[in-house]
Amino acid sequence: MSAVREVLDNGLGGIKHNFLTGRVEDLVKWSRSRSSWGATFGLACCAIEMMGTGAPHYDIARFGMEVFRASPRQADIMIVAGRVSQKMAPVLRQVYDQMMEPKWVISMGVCASSGGMFNNYAIVQGVDQIVPVDVYAPGCPPTPETLIHAIETLHQLIEDGEIMRRRAESGAGANVHIQEIPAGITTPVTLDRR
């Protein structure tokens, strides 16, 4: 019963493993990564590519992510897709604060990651100034393949568990940078006429 007492007191992150709790933690991490729901935070052009990733050709439903919840309380991953203006920054922080733990952030596109081509008064130079970011996806806009790569990288991090430990320690994001997959590199599916 000490294992149960441990969980009740300290949560899953701190328990000392025995074979029973090890399995439960793996199960929890696996299910978190396989069924994460995104919060709708499409701002600009990247939002169009994000919607395209949810569309039939690229289909993130196979990764469990096709459900985009409008309510931040029900979402796990916030994909900041697009440029964040000065007026939008407090809204972004509010939505992030409303999300329940565990929560992760993917910064999609160069505008969200660093301000992109808009190095001026109006755009926040990188959304990591406002929220901790776990994966940065480059591209303007990132191709759907790049976004899927970012999502899968995040899923892998969730499943490994490292990300939760680091977040618990420092509150920082995982700060993983991924490679962009340029357009046209994957063989397109040819749809026939009918």
């Binding site: 709708t40 935070f41 499409g42 701002l43 600009a44 052009c45 939002a47 169009i48 590519e49 919607m51 395209g52 949810g54 569309a55 039939p56 050709h57 985009f68 409008a70 697009g82 440029r83 203006s85 000065q86 007026k87 939008m88 407090p90 809204v91 922080r93 509010q94 939505v95 081509m117 808009f118 001026n120 008064y121 109006a122 755009i123 303007c140 806009p141 191709t143 357009a183 046209g184 397109p188 749809l191 006429r193 009918r194």
Partner: protein, 445 residues
């Protein structure tokens, strides 16, 4: 007591928000009810029935957005409701303001396309086209653009219109609950994007239409790709007609919703499908033609009632008209240069840089310093999927625009929202926004 439910002090925009009934004058209330739109006295009085006999206790101001599943981007709407009826509505914009016009003052005319293309990110080629046309007019070379370049520009512009309207069908469907339409519309759009990627190298935000012509020629085999597209789409559009146009639920949700009259639309400078849905056949491609639109046959699609259903039907039919134009372009595309052979404006072919010193120098100067544009100012407008998009450039003789302003159709069309929503149900608010098809990138720039 009027309740204001706002997203919290941090997002309060003070004077930009909708003020409670008790804090504004009767004249302001009348104005918000559309009394300035040159209505007759009796019509204005009839309108004010909705507005004036409401106690403050009975109305509530709610806040929709800026982060909301059903707005097209970060549009924030403040609605004053009495029960389910919308009395007043005020859009609050600026959540995507990117300072693009300021950025445009520090980018050369060749780089300007990368900036402008991200304004209306659903029809980027149209943005680049209007910017390039304005630059060419200032340079004085707008009469010398080669035939092939003009036909290519027309081809890309019409395909962009098709992809933008397909996205409209998708998002309109999803906003009204027909979620499968979202999937179908994107499926079709991918085909067009694949063609763009083959031609321009990118799926979106291409920076392909540049001052002087285009960045590159059409690749080999482009005709087959376009033909494949033209063969595939008509059957699919017929399916959407069955799925949506004839369907009773669809009709009930859109007919009579978001009505705007012709005089209101002209007074509010609404253009594009909104103006055409009121019955006025105004399309810049036909009325103030540019490129080679005089030499292709197409119809201007017009509605009769000015409601959301008309706008949906107009856009669906405009896809067919664009296909018709693309078919004619396929037949008529001439051979020739894809850009003007003016070394001061267009960079030399990459192969020649190894051979000719002059070519190298021109390439260097064009890409680093940029070409100088004579002093002057000009306004050029074309028909984008959303309406009239115009570019006003004032030049001071240097290689960067002194002032670059884009007249964005969505910025002006969003002003129609209060007039369309007034008297309607709050549940129809989403349908109305969707029928205007705003792109917040160009609203806020």
């Amino acid at each position: 007591m009027t309740t204001i439910v706002s997203a919290g002090a941090a997002t309060s925009e003070g004077g930009q928000e909708l003020r409670p009934r008790g804090e504004i004058s009767q004249k302001a209330l009348m104005r918000e009810a559309g009394a300035v739109l040159r209505l007759s006295e009796s019509a204005a009085a009839a309108l004010s029935d909705v507005v004036s006999d409401v106690d403050e206790d009975q109305s509530m101001i709610i806040n929709m957005g800026p982060q909301h599943p059903s707005t097209h981007g970060v549009l924030r709407l403040m609605l004053e409701l009495q029960g389910e009826t919308v009395l007043r509505c005020k859009p609050v914009i600026g959540y995507l303001h990117t300072g693009m016009e300021k950025t445009g003052e520090s980018l050369t005319y060749l780089q300007g396309g990368t900036n402008v293309t991200r304004m209306d990110y659903l029809s980027p080629l149209n943005n680049e086209l209007v910017f390039s046309m304005a630059t060419e007019k200032l340079l004085g070379i707008d009469g010398e653009i080669p035939e092939r370049a003009q036909w290519m520009r027309m081809l890309l512009s019409e395909l962009n219109r098709m992809s933008s309207h397909l996205l409209f069908l998708a998002t309109n469907g999803m906003d009204l609950g027909a979620v499968s339409m979202m999937l179908y519309g994107w499926r079709e759009r991918e085909e067009v994007l694949r063609f763009f990627q083959k031609v321009t190298g990118l799926r979106m935000n291409h920076n392909f239409i540049r001052p002087g012509g285009l960045a590159a020629d059409l690749p080999a085999g482009w005709r087959d790709d376009v033909l494949h597209l033209l063969e595939m789409l008509p059957d699919r559009l017929a399916e959407y007609e069955i799925l949506m146009t004839g369907q009773p639920i669809w009709r009930e949700r859109l007919q009579g919703v978001g009505v705007i009259t012709q005089s209101e639309a002209i007074a509010l400078a609404a253009t594009g499908p909104i103006l055409r849905s009121t019955g006025l056949a105004w399309d810049l491609r036909r009325d103030l033609p540019y490129l080679k639109y005089r030499e292709v046959e197409f119809d201007v699609v017009v509605g009769a009632h000015g409601d959301a259903y008309d706008r949906y039907a107009i856009r669906l039919q405009e896809i067919r008209e664009s296909m018709r134009i693309v078919r004619q372009i396929l037949d008529k595309m001439p051979s020739g240069d894809y850009r003007i052979q003016n070394k001061k404006v267009t960079p030399p072919p990459r192969g020649r840089i190894d051979e000719s010193m002059e070519a190298l120098i021109h390439h260097f100067k064009i890409f680093t310093e940029g070409f100088k544009v004579p002093e002057g100012e000009v306004y050029v407008a074309i028909e984008s999927p959303r309406g009239e998009i115009g570019c006003y450039i004032a030049s001071d003789g240097s290689s960067v625009p002194y002032r670059m302003h884009v007249r964005a159709p969505s910025f002006v069309n969003v002003q129609c929202l209060p007039h369309m929503m007034r008297g309607g149900l709050v549940a129809d608010a989403v349908a109305v926004i969707s029928s205007i098809d705003p792109v917040l990138g160009e609203v806020d720039r």
